[in-house]
């Protein structure tokens, strides 16, 4: 039994790490052994920082990087601002009503970004929100809001309603109860919701390429670099793009759990 577990663990570990290893090889190995080779080497044979330095020199990645940061943070804030009241409200509504509202939210999550994005792009052209970070963030919130609401509904449901009754007896109004009792207890769920919103939006490509096609966020810039044959820049930016999220993922790892993703499924 033990033996199988370790074999499984090794297979799983290699499966998840291999592509990352390749990305590091591409970034730090001399191009002779990577993008230019007939059979690229699987070993770090000629480590160099030249790839990164030449790619980062003179190429505009700062602006897209900042745009990505701005968008993801804005999406996180808008999402949380809407999802905290919604999640709390849902957890206190009768089950049948809350359930149908959640279904409604999740169904909108199923609407393809590319279906929504095209009419929105046409509308944004008229509203001067085309090519703007705010317009992009408003659209991307659609992806994160249903999920964040779902997570927070589960979180607030797990807080015993008696705690709230007690605070109410002590004379706390809704806002006091929210800030002194509910929010501190819900903090892990809120952190999870924010993190997932931030990550989903950092990653988002479809709305970005439809709504900011020209001076876009980093994912679109990477796509454009790679398709124009600017391979090393694409690889270098990919690495830069990945580092913040890896740090964030590890820092907040304990909040990234199936229980949150499955939200109210058990509740």
């Amino acid at each position: 039994m033990r033996w199988w577990t370790y074999l499984g663990a090794i297979v799983v570990g290699i499966y998840f790490l291999f592509p990352l290893y390749i990305l590091v090889l591409l970034a730090f190995n001399s191009p002779k052994y990577t993008v230019l080779a007939k059979f690229p080497s699987l070993l770090p044979v000629s480590l160099t920082l030249n790839n990164l330095l030449t790619a980062l020199q003179g190429t505009a990645f700062i602006d897209p990087f900042i745009k990505s940061l701005e968008t993801a943070t804005l999406v996180g804030i808008i999402t949380i601002a809407l999802a905290i009241p919604a999640g709390y409200g849902l957890s206190r509504l009768p089950r049948a009503i809350a359930y149908s509202i959640i279904i409604l939210l999740l169904v909108t999550n199923m609407m393809p970004a590319i279906v929504i994005g095209i009419p929105i792009a046409v509308d944004f052209l008229k509203l001067h929100l085309f090519e703007s970070v705010i317009g992009l963030a408003l659209a991307q919130t659609l992806i994160t809001l249903p999920l964040a609401t779902f997570i927070l509904q589960g979180t607030f449901s797990s807080i015993p309603i008696d705690l709230e009754h007690q605070a109410r007896v002590d004379g706390a109004n809704l806002f006091n109860r929210l800030f002194s009792v509910l929010l501190p207890l819900a903090a892990p769920g809120i952190a999870a919701a924010f993190l997932i919103s931030w990550m989903f939006s950092w990653d988002e490509f479809t709305y970005a390429i439809l709504l900011i096609p020209y001076h876009s966020t980093l994912p679109v810039t990477i796509y454009q670099d790679v398709t124009r044959g600017n391979l090393l820049a694409g690889i270098a930016f990919s690495l830069i793009f990945t580092i913040p999220v890896i740090i964030l993922t590890f820092a907040l790892q304990k909040y990234l759990r199936g229980e949150y993703l499955a939200g109210g499924i058990k509740g």
Binding site: V11, L20, L82
Partner: protein, 272 residues
């Protein structure tokens, strides 16, 4: 019924309806408009010149294939992580890494793994078997590349949901059936699977819908050859802009598939 909870839900609800429902209805409505503003099937008839049926079949193939791979791998990962062993914490950290990697980055990396000339997959195949595969030779192998890249990025979510489900199954069930003489395979089919029904349903809906919408990965890995519904929509959109009728008509078809798929899965997983 109290009003306050409902009022608190209202802003989020209004947001989603305003930004998702209305544009979707607008898209469907405009897809039935011909260039002269009349109401007709003009866009849908035009679509027949653009390999629409090929794109539909490819999309279904990718969706089913990627879901199958992700469920299988998700079960493998979840059953490994459900046990206690040395290095479990490290492995669960490794498992969530792909969730943090941007889809675009995954696509770029896998495009180098499955390079036409050489490529890392071929390096391995070449040194082991002396093979050199052209991954983009047939449309099915191109689609396989997309499925593999997608499964790397998205198996963790499936695994996390399945793991949460597995830990909710009472251990006594396993002990009891082990005493009754059920082996690991029987226990999997008679205890694990039935108890995970709603969790499998959730991950199928979550992933399946995204699978129909898969866009950045195929765009970077295979461009528009063979086309999926999303890359076809994007292609039509960029080549005919500011006329968007054709793109919207194919978008409406994609929407139809997603609605049908999700209602099937919701039915199968027993509603809740």
């Amino acid at each position: 019924m109290k009003l306050t909870p409902f009022l608190l839900v209202l802003p989020a609800l209004a947001y989603v309806i305003g930004f998702a429902f209305f544009p979707t209805i607008e898209a469907v409505y405009l897809s039935f408009q011909d260039p002269h503003g009349g109401f007709s099937l003009y866009n849908y008839e035009e679509l027949s010149y653009f390999n629409l049926s090929g794109a539909i079949i490819d999309t279904i193939v990718v969706t089913i294939g990627a879901l199958a791979i992700q469920l299988a791998l998700g079960f493998l990962v979840a059953s490994v992580l459900a046990r206690e062993f040395f290095g479990k914490r490290a492995l669960s950290s490794i498992t969530i890494i792909p969730m943090g990697i941007a889809t675009v980055v995954a696509a770029v990396t896998f495009s180098f793994v499955f390079q036409t000339s050489g490529g890392y997959a071929n390096t391995i195949l070449h040194s082991l078997f002396g093979l050199n595969v052209n991954w983009y030779q047939s449309s099915i192998s191109s689609l396989l590349v997309v499925m593999i890249a997608d499964s790397w990025k998205n198996t963790p979510i499936v695994a996390l949901i399945l793991l949460a489900g597995m830990s909710s199954i009472p251990k006594e069930l396993y002990y009891a059936s082990a005493i009754d003489g059920a082996g690991p395979i029987r226990r999997f089919f008679y205890i694990t699977l039935p108890n995970l029904r709603s969790f499998i349903g959730i991950s199928l809906i979550l992933r399946g819908v995204q699978e129909f919408n898969i866009f950045a990965l195929p765009l970077i890995l295979i461009g528009e050859h063979p086309p999926l519904l999303t890359t076809l929509i994007y292609d039509l959109y960029t080549t005919t802009f500011p006329e968007v009728g054709l793109a919207l008509a194919s978008a409406t078809i994609l929407l139809g598939f997603i609605l049908v798929f999700s209602s099937i899965v919701i039915k199968l997983s027993g509603g809740r």
